[in-house]
Amino acid sequence: MSGNDEHGDDEHDAGEAVVAAVEAVAERIEAERDHLTDLDSAIGDADHGGNMARGWAKAAGAAGDLEDPDPEAVAKTVGKTLMSEVGGASGPLFGGSLVFAGAELADGVTAETAVAFAETYLEKVEDRGDARIGDGTMVDALTPAVHTFKKSIEVDDLEPLEALAKAVDAAERGVAFTVPIRARKGRASYLGWRSVGHQDPGATSTLFILEEVLEVAADRLDAEVPETDATSPTIPDDAESEPGSDDATPEGAE
């Protein structure tokens, strides 16, 4: 997929697209600053909006300053900047995960490397935060998004843009899921049952980031954002799934 004569140009275009996405995220987070702070003041320390806005503004500046950016360099620069500029747990969670996931983009952005990037990012957030799905954290938005993206690419063979649109919808459902459950990780967990009824700020900003990446990706491809949702039927499951053969064991169930 890469390595042809045009590789340098492709990589440059991809790098510029990633920079554009980072700039769009920075604008969006700034626009949502008060919203994120309100969410965080209900269950945390009311600093998520300000910290994220400052961090992403600096990150967009640093990414824009890169000469001849390639996707890996942009991801690592943004990650590094977020790590030092965003305080609290969001620095290592958003920034640190991006630094490590960025290494998956060494060969540019393809459907395959994007899936690897997403999986590494999720794994790093889970490990670093010691959080799993259902803990009322950004993992609740991220996990369905990454799983939906991977399945849409690898199983349903969808176009990357449609796969990303489905992932964004999955993240939105994940954010909604953080509302009625009790937080078990992060500062909100100190509230115990009182965290029920509140939307997680980190899950919310994760959704905003994904929404902007989708917008920029569609814009770069000169395409409309696909009308789709995570539960809409894709291709029929024709592969070895005969009716009645529902004895499939969930992964890790042993």
């Binding site: 305080g87 620095g91 290592p92």
Partner: protein, 134 residues
């Protein structure tokens, strides 16, 4: 074998104070303090922790920590940032699951033992969890 120590706190002054106490017991052991958000406020920065690891870690000098670095941390995001810094660093380092002050003192004592290893220093630091005060 030589093991070094890095003390990470949300407060630069807390980290320096803890190092001041631990250094009393530390002999030749290299201990580095790191803390604060880099803007004079409370927090920790992975890059700063990475720099501290490099300062203590094996640089070929006589007192460099050629058997690695034990990292003492205070709370929450300091732990996460220390993990990120260790993953990014070339220095062999481990976090001790220990109270930061008591762990630093225990680790400083353990590190002066000539037969010390990275594991033995970490174990001694973690034994500080058992200290009873009253």
């Amino acid at each position: 074998m030589t093991v070094g120590l890095v003390v990470v706190s949300h407060s630069a002054r807390a980290a320096e104070g803890i190092v001041e106490i631990a250094a009393e017991m530390a002999g030749e052991t290299r201990i580095e303090a790191v803390g604060g958000d880099g803007r004079g406020g409370i927090g920790t920065v992975p890059d700063d922790i990475e720099d501290a690891l490099a300062a203590v870690g094996d640089d070929g000098g006589d007192s460099s920590a050629d058997d690695g670095v034990v990292v003492l941390v205070d709370l929450g995001s300091a732990v996460m940032n220390a993990e990120v810094a260790i993953e990014l660093s070339d220095v062999d380092a481990v976090i001790a699951d220990a109270p930061v002050l008591e762990g630093a003192v225990n680790a400083a004592v353990a590190a002066t033992d000539p037969s010390t290893t990275l594991e033995s220093v970490r174990e001694q630091a973690e034994a500080a969890s058992e200290i009873s005060k009253v």
